[in-house]
Symmetry: C2
Subunit: 379 residues, 2 copies
């Protein structure tokens, strides 16, 4: 097991996850805003870190001090609950979702009514100041359509506004809406350096789930579980991770769950976030792990959460043969127990490929209709 430090520095209930008001119109937006940024240095030649010696900086984002990350999260209106590290990355569980920091990559994922994009300007400053990383090699900003965009800060009520804001910082960008504009869908903004260095194999699997059954949702409460580790075990989440994975998690009061997992000796991670209120239940799974085939990984996640509907995305660069194989499988194969309402295959100018697919559980006579067309237009 890698060296770990887990420190709880604040009460375990995040500001937006305290007891739901008696008010029947209480709502929490589980769907996250997700920012992933890959940095580089203009001092590097062909990705070789000559810069190390040229300036004092370590060329690693991990040299940014903890208090700077605390301040960064404040800009997004969330905060760090606790941290864990291994040889390759630092993991932070937030009051709303997660932060992962490795040498060249930052992943910031925030749910609720957080203001993720407010961190970008400061993030670029920190990377340059503390790490000598003055280039953004790739940036990805994505999210599902919100269930209640009207409850979001103004900037996040339509993706057009988010695109415009991101264009202040990044050039040569493109943006996509995947899925039916009339129901569940997923937005992506991406920008890459024209001569982005060839990186090693990389991929990301995301599964965004809604309408979980009551018996599953009940487990993500303080009534059913003592604490985070207890919830991780009772829900079976510990069994969907690659073996030996280090986990730190939070079971919120009275309900709600966040988990970060680190694969030993690697920058591979997984993260799960659950909003268990039946009226707006939502669960997300994200990983870049390469121990388990992503198709098998997906099945494990679905068995654990049993969602009525989910959307899935697999992002792969041209070097990840395993992810590309799973993308092809998704195109050709059925997902047991689910009806695929649409699937889209995108090849970007960078030759990265992206698969988006949306599924609805096949109805037994017992269950109500669950057409994808029920999904209300929300933007």
């Amino acid at each position: 097991m890698p060296a770990q430090t887990a420190v709880a520095i604040v009460p375990v209930s995040g500001p937006d996850k305290t007891a739901a008001p008696a008010s029947p119109d209480y709502f929490f937006e589980g769907a996250e805003k997700l920012l992933e940024v890959w940095f580089g240095s203009s001092l590097e030649v062909d990705g070789v870190a000559e810069a190390d010696t040229k300036n004092g900086a370590s060329l690693s984002l991990r040299s940014i001090p903890r208090q700077e990350w605390d301040a960064l999260c404040e800009l997004a209106a969330c905060r760090i609950l606790h941290a864990m590290s291994n040889e390759c990355m630092d993991s932070y569980v937030l009051s709303e979702s997660s932060l992962f920091v490795s040498d060249r990559r930052v992943i910031l994922k925030t749910c609720g009514s957080t203001k993720l994009l407010a961190t970008i300007s400061r993030l670029l400053e920190l990377a340059e100041t503390y790490s000598g990383l003055d280039q953004v090699v790739n940036v990805y900003y994505s999210r599902k359509n919100f269930a209640r965009p009207d409850l979001q800060p103004k900037l996040y009520r339509s993706f057009d506004a988010e695109m415009d804001y991101l264009d202040r910082f990044f050039d040569e960008s493109s943006a996509y809406c995947l899925g039916s504009m009339k129901s569940d869908r997923w937005y992506l903004y991406t920008s890459s350096l024209p001569q982005a260095p060839i990186t090693c194999a990389d991929h990301t699997l995301e599964i965004l789930m809604t309408e979980m059954p009551q018996h599953v949702l009940d487990l993500f409460t303080r009534e059913a579980c003592e604490d985070g580790p207890d919830c991780t075990k009772k829900t079976g989440i510990d069994r969907i991770m690659p073996p030996g994975t280090a986990i730190h998690e939070e079971l919120f009061d009275p309900c709600g769950y966040s988990m970060n997992a680190l694969v030993p000796n690697s920058d591979k991670y997984a993260t799960i976030h659950v909003t268990p209120e039946p009226a707006f239940s939502y669960a997300s799974f994200e990983t870049n792990q390469d121990h388990i085939c992503l198709f098998a990984q997906t099945k494990r996640v679905l068995e654990c959460f049993q969602p009525q509907k989910f959307l899935l995305t697999i992002f792969s660069n041209e070097h990840s043969e395993s992810a590309k194989a799973t993308q092809q499988q998704l195109w050709e194969k059925e997902m047991l127990g689910y009806r695929r309402t649409s699937i889209q295959f995108v090849r970007l100018e960078t030759d990265e490929t992206l698969v988006y697919a949306h599924y609805v559980r096949k109805c037994k006579s017992s269950c109500g209709s669950s057409s994808e067309d029920e999904g209300e237009r929300s933007e």
Copy 2:
């Protein structure tokens, strides 16, 4: 050659294509709204036309009288210029684009500031009244993003409004935005009967082109060509059609071109529309022909028009092996002289597949930059 009738019933200049005002802000929206509807009859059993005898109707849309088509076009604020027929379909060149009517399929394509969707209600009535076709088996409504949505009738300024309007008439629909939301893109609304009968192979190729070179644009004017047939010959359009194709076309005054082509003894067609004003040049090509491989067909069209940018869509049902092969080619192969900025592969719940691709001409040192990111956001 099939029997043909070509009758010019109005002056050859459409209302929106008369001489451009001296005013420098004269603009014409070349990008078309495109509606394709496939009809069926509830009296049919497994697609077998028992209904013929059960009611007087011929179960063919071609039994709808000409004056009804004239009235229908009026609803869209355009009109029929002339007609041509063969054994399988009727073709109409309009003041703004085209109308094709075969036994079970209507294709209405209108450019400028026309109101295509205003025809739907009446179209459904006509199909039932004259043809006993009381079911819409499939409907497709699509368009490129407009260059000047602000100059469109209110309903057409955002695709969301068009979707809402279409939902008044059709169930179980879905809608997609293909291409980058930040530049050229293509919107599709589609709805199918849950048990849509298995049809024969069908596909559609569309190529939507902008920024043609001056020497190409010049040919689509009354200065360069005497009339439609002269323009068809001088531009080489006659040579990109399958052999033996019957053509009727219009060269507008002072500029602009529309052409409908019918492949003998079939319901295969092609149609071309050109807006040659350099400030907002646009040309579209559409066909369902299966004589020439669609990849070769695409190359012929590009050689003829030499656009700086174009987007391409190929729609194929599961029975069209040739179209599916071309879809795969587009995914894997380069288009000579062009840089592909993105390609998307979509599989709908009906198992129809759709490929969207966007290309920008590779720049020689001589030519100005032409990044896809130049495309102004227009919706």
